[in-house]
Point group: C2
Chain length 451, copies 2
């Protein structure tokens, strides 16, 4: 299935939900992102909804409004994860989106009658992680990030020889994926302080964030069946903003030779709304221009279409507010503003790479782009890069930061703009650092097996 720009992208389309028509609204009728919500303070289970203006539409409460494939898709939204919807595939996703767009259009009287009773206040909705994620893969697709991070460890060879051939990635941990707004507890871990001869176990001192784009996959595949790059988008349900919290000191001691583990597995935050691949069609861009001498992608990672329109232009803006700033009422300080258009690898290349060895996709799989950094100093997606691992502390109205302090709140906001099209937003992915937990006492136990 190949998607085309269509009436759902029409910049002139407006909704009978007036708040969706405001110029700065992240959720206009051209967006229609999916999430899982529960009206705050009410009983009942969480279920699937879409954000429109300042409202959430409870899709499964108005299934009678939909027909055909869209009807089946709407029914699948009655549970507390979108995996059922994701499993239906791109035709069903698109059918539901098209009928939603029509029903929400300003002149659709029937839509107003049928959907109005199913609207909830967006600000009064508790949001959940929108899918059961069983497999989380984190890529390393920003060449600027790879270079910046590499330079700190290998000044003479910042970029490893495989980088321009392999969309480098590692398996992440899915159990600790949390929704935006969840407090992030500072982890403990083994740390080898500079100059020490033995590691110690204690609170992380180099806590960091990573600004990423998340990619949700639907439409599972069978083991042994690679996805060709030309078909990769059929598996892409949509996108979110992702914060890959990182404990740099834990990671740097543990990561040889098998890669990051406890430095990452304590938490990964995702924004609650999944912006569909179809909604993002107007914001597809060519892949970044390769430098002179850069190799062409190997054949399984190459398609002309992907080179021409396989990139995405999602702006990711990251800001911080410390506890002191909050108590003083100081506004947030921007840390970076970058775009996924600078990524070296496209979503389709990531999907093709992930499955190239026959690895199967499951519904709800999540891919992270890796930290999105750009070539300029105001587009660096982690404190590691901004402070050069603490060497150049950041000044927050007098408070210095090498890494994150307790009480710091990190917010990442995603958005897309293009001349001639309605701007759409992802909403925010936020998290505030909580102090390390008190250490539980160790209770004595007795031996149970006779010698």
């Amino acid at each position: 299935m190949s998607m085309q720009l269509n009436k759902t992208h029409d910049a002139g389309r407006r909704s009978w939900i007036e708040s969706a028509n405001a110029a700065d609204c992240p959720f206009p009728i051209q967006n229609l992102p999916f999430g899982v919500f529960r009206p705050r303070g009410r009983s009942g289970t969480a279920r699937g909804g879409i954000a429109i203006g300042d409202a959430v539409l409870d899709i499964s409460a108005c299934t009678a409004a939909f027909e055909g494939l869209a009807h089946a898709a709407a029914i699948s939204c009655s549970v507390s994860d979108l995996n059922g919807l994701m499993s239906l595939g791109p035709e069903a996703w698109s059918a539901l989106r098209h009928q939603l767009s029509d029903l929400l259009s300003v002149d659709n009287k029937r839509g107003r009658d049928v959907l109005s009773p199913c609207l909830f206040d967006l600000n009064g909705a508790d949001m959940h992680v929108p899918a059961k994620v069983h497999n989380f893969t984190d890529f390393f697709a920003s060449i600027d990030h790879a270079t910046n991070a590499g330079r700190l460890f290998r000044p003479n060879q910042p970029l490893l020889p495989n980088y321009k051939y392999v969309p480098v990635a590692y398996n992440g941990r899915s159990s600790s994926i949390v929704v935006s707004g969840t407090a992030i507890r500072r982890p403990r871990g083994q740390i080898m302080p500079s100059g020490a001869v033995e590691p110690t176990f204690g609170p992380c001192r180099q806590l960091d964030y990573e600004v990423e784009l998340g990619i949700y996959l639907g439409a599972k595949t069978d083991l042994g069946e690679p996805v060709r790059i030309d078909n990769a988008w059929d598996h892409v349900f949509g996108f979110c903003v992702l914060n890959d919290w990182s404990a740099r000191d834990i990671q740097s001691w543990e990561y040889q030779p098998l890669g990051p583990f406890l430095g990452k597995t304590f938490a990964t935050s995702v924004s609650p709304w999944i912006v569909t691949a179809e909604a993002l069609l107007p914001f597809r861009v060519p892949v970044i221009e390769r430098a002179n001498g850069d190799p062409a992608p190997l054949p399984h990672l190459y398609s002309e279409v992907d080179q021409l329109e396989g990139g995405l232009d999602v702006t990711l803006e990251c800001s911080i507010q410390s506890r002191e700033m909050r108590s003083r009422g100081s506004s947030r300080v921007r840390l970076s503003r970058g775009s996924t258009r600078m990524l070296y690898w496209t979503p389709a290349q990531m999907v093709a790479h992930q499955t190239s060895n026959g690895c199967n996709l499951e519904v709800g799989d999540l891919l992270g782009s890796g930290t999105v950094s750009g070539p300029t100093s105001d587009s660096l997606g982690s404190l590691l890069e901004i402070t050069r691992r603490g060497a150049n502390p950041l000044d927050l109205h007098g408070e210095l930061r090498e890494f994150l302090a307790d009480g710091d709140d990190i917010e990442i906001i995603g958005s897309c703009r293009r001349e001639g099209f309605a701007s759409i937003g992802f909403g925010a992915c936020t998290g505030t650092i909580e102090p390390v937990a008190p250490l539980a006492e160790t209770s004595a136990t007795t031996r149970s097996v006779p010698a």
Copy 2:
């Protein structure tokens, strides 16, 4: 909950299922491993069972035989995964095991009457992966394997400085976990041939196996709540044999700097039966003696009890049979025989480490021990080590092997023996290498977004 040796371990106990009393039976009444099966050729869903002698007991077909916690546990076995049973925790696991042991005892007339109609032929049962595994962690706990593998890449520093402090591990891929007997298709991947200047994409030429012990966890934890080493066994449901198939050529080109990915994610095989932690109590052993100058485990990885009885003595025997050997009727050739008693890290240390940063456990989590190798040349758990990455090919009755060839069948068998106790077995974990899949043709697609 601390487990004690009890009547279920009594070597004198015999079953009214005569085949379970044979001296070489892997599934005597002292074992009672759990699996998920479906009688071959019959309709109906797969469900939980235990292996006893040459039979499988369909637990959910005889729930009336059980009382109290064991009754709830038996009911949880009616579905196609053991996650429900695993979620009930160690008291329920033990209660079900005790009542099963009593009901299957030779003089239990009621047991014979009630359970007999619920028995199926073990050889006529199709076995499934016994749990929904959402998180798979692969450790690196054999110091001999770490040293052998390290020597091939870093002759001057085979063991990295963190090894004796950190139970090194990485996140595995759960989607491609398959049950014993599933054919393993040779993967394709990016490979940088020795001396080449550019990588190629093609069939893996260094396909390997890894002999491992698998550890299934039950009883989930909350994010931010580390498991203390003294409580770690409360989360260990049981053990299996695991083959961490590895594409060495893909892995060595991709793995810097984020660790193994496509070199591993194409398949991981598990034996169908989960031998419970309680059944393995008689085979607990002290941790291996540390070398002079080795550091003590950091406090969160240390308990006296764990040092004294936290190891396990499971013998893992690996053998090969090539297609030619099968056609000639030649018997299998043993590749190695090692024991998990040689591991540097214990299961409790793995659980404590995994959760030490607050990472939560989910029901059905699977931990791999990492390749189990010993210090002798006949106890090396991978071809990488046996052939020194192909430098010393293996001679199979005249066929040479640097790595696995199409048609090769690998079998790993687990077993435990101890004077004064009944021997118990894990059964086998097998897999035969299938040729690489034909390459799908690339279909042309058109651009969908206007420039």
